[in-house]
């Protein structure tokens, strides 16, 4: 089989395993939908003072999409790769003729498909329930932003596995990093409610710039297409993650 066919083969089974795993489906698919609906119900009718004022429901569609994309990539990869590593499945796979990178590629493919699906699902819910229009006119820009974000957060997720010692620690470490960043980046609390210093601080980490870039292409009149500066920060984080992953990624479980 060609390398691409091998990746497709691996991806097919990763997809099956993903959709049959209730925890993965809940945290990656259901959780963002539920969070969006709660925030939309609570803040419906209010306005967020950014870019001359947008409706709260309009604000939360790209906000929770950003969260869902990070969750599908960084969070899902960090958690499932640690589980497969500690199970010995990564090590076992390395004992076959399959090139090692194909496993990672299959998982990244899985993450990207789930991220796209979440964008469509949240876009649909926002559109149907709250008339938040989907930016069809900026679809290429939107997809490029998504691609850079998904790639960067995938690299960060793979790099993070090196810092996670066990299956039990995976969820705790990932959430301890991401949850505060979601709050500080204006994902849950609208940014006009946050003190200015908080956003300045969050700008140094990848979540906030990704959200800004995503917001800029999603909300009409918010920005003008691709937010290169913000995407640049996301990309730098992604490259750092890639280098760390190449240097520190482990295939074998911690010795028992």
């Amino acid at each position: 089989m060609s390398a691409l066919a091998l990746v497709a083969h691996q991806f097919r089974y990763d997809q099956k395993a993903f959709w049959r795993n209730p925890a993965a489906v809940f945290f990656t698919v259901m959780f963002p939908v539920v969070v969006f609906l709660i925030l939309a119900v609570v803040f419906d009718g209010s306005t967020v003072k950014v870019d001359g004022g947008v409706e709260a429901t309009t604000y939360y569609v790209p906000a929770i999409m950003s969260l869902a994309i990070i969750s599908a990539t960084m969070q899902t990869l960090a958690m499932t790769l640690v589980i497969t590593r500690e199970d010995g499945r990564l090590k076992r796979g390395r004992g076959t003729p399959m090139p090692a990178w194909v496993f990672i590629a299959g998982r990244i493919g899985n993450s990207i498909v789930v991220a796209l699906l979440m964008m469509a699902l949240l876009g649909l819910i926002g559109g149907v329930l709250y008339s938040v229009s989907f930016p069809w006119g900026q679809l290429p820009e939107l997809l490029l932003t998504l691609a850079i974000g998904a790639a960067a957060f995938s690299c960060l997720g793979i790099a993070l596995t090196a810092a996670i010692p066990s299956q039990d620690a995976a969820a705790a470490i990932v959430n301890a990093l991401l949850l505060p960043l979601y709050f500080l980046s204006g994902i849950f609390i609208p940014e006009d409610e946050l003190p200015g210093g908080v956003i300045d601080f969050a700008n140094h980490f990848p979540v906030r710039p990704f959200f800004e870039a995503f917001f800029a292409v999603y909300v009409p009149g918010a920005g003008n297409g691709i937010a290169w500066h913000e995407l640049g920060i996301v990309a730098i984080w992604g490259i750092a993650g890639l280098l760390l992953a190449i240097r520190f990624f482990r295939w074998a479980p911690r010795e028992g």
Partner: protein, 282 residues
């Protein structure tokens, strides 16, 4: 071949040779260096010294072509809990150039009834058989099995043994590590015993540890007391004993004649080597 971790020598210079088509058991207590050795042969670890050739190649440098020809069952392997038996095998079949048909593999490991079950619903013994099946999918010439039945109940062990015994009939070469003497005895053509990183005995299960020349134990009860005799001439001793009993017209109560079991030999061999290792360490 030797392997050190820092100052600690896990494998202290061993020599071994496995013949094509045989089931070779590498037997030893926990911590003896079995897994270290087998993982060097599988290409997972680098040796500290010596030469290794597996199917004509050095595992440290061997590539995809070599991996097409071997199958590996790790000591503590888990499977994807959400894939079925058939899916797990199909997934692995996709990794190999000319895999064995999935249905054949399912039959080989005796999981026909469970083929559509997800791995998480299988018993421990069934999961292990699936694990062996995944190593067989590539139709390897050489199969490594690292402690395939550790922690099994007797019936699961028996089933795993049947699967391994079937591999010999397929003409596969099997490198089996185990710490169960009876497993080696039951399955292997040849056994090599390792203890504290050194080989302490090798041979067929029958002549291992030179059991033939060891003392035979005769036990019986006489006037309510247990009597135990050790003899190197059991025929003579028994003749005297039974002759005396016959002359008196008595039965000998609870008469037992035993030669040391393989288990006894194994414990003797590994115990003495452990003691030596302890002395060296001091």
């Amino acid at each position: 071949m030797r392997k050190s971790y820092g100052d600690a020598e896990a494998v202290r210079g061993i020599d071994l040779e496995v013949m094509p088509g045989e089931v070779f058991a590498f037997l030893g207590p926990n911590g003896a260096g079995k897994t270290t050795t087998v993982e060097i042969l599988e290409g997972y670890r680098k040796r500290s010294g010596g030469e290794v050739s597996v199917l004509g190649e050095d595992p440290e440098r061997a590539g995809r072509e070599w991996r097409e020809r071997i199958g590996i069952v790790l000591q503590s392997g888990r499977l994807d809990p959400y894939l079925t038996v058939r899916e797990s095998l199909d997934l692995y079949a996709g990794y190999f150039r000319s895999p064995r048909p999935t249905d054949e593999v399912i039959a080989l490991v005796g999981l026909e009834a469970e083929a559509e079950q997800r791995a998480r619903r299988l018993s421990g013994g069934q999961q292990r058989r699936l694990d062996v099946g995944m190593a067989l999918v590539g139709d390897p010439e050489l199969l490594f099995l690292d402690e395939p039945t550790t922690g099994f109940d007797p019936s699961a062990r028996r089933q795993a043994w049947d699967v391994i015994a079937g591999l010999r009939d397929l003409g596969k070469t099997v490198f089996l590590t185990t710490h169960y003497m009876d497993e080696a005895q039951r399955l292997a053509d040849r056994v090599t015993i390792i203890a504290a990183g050194e080989i302490v005995a090798r041979g067929t299960p029958e002549d291992l540890g030179d059991r033939e020349s060891q003392a035979t134990t005769i036990r019986y009860r006489s006037e309510g007391r247990e009597v135990e005799l050790e003899t190197r001439t059991p025929v003579e001793t028994l003749h005297e004993l039974t002759g005396a009993a016959l002359a008196k017209g008595e039965e000998i109560e609870a008469l037992e004649v035993t030669r040391p079991s393989l288990e006894d030999v194994y414990l003797q061999l590994t115990a003495s080597s452990d003691a030596e290792a302890a002395e060296v360490a001091e």
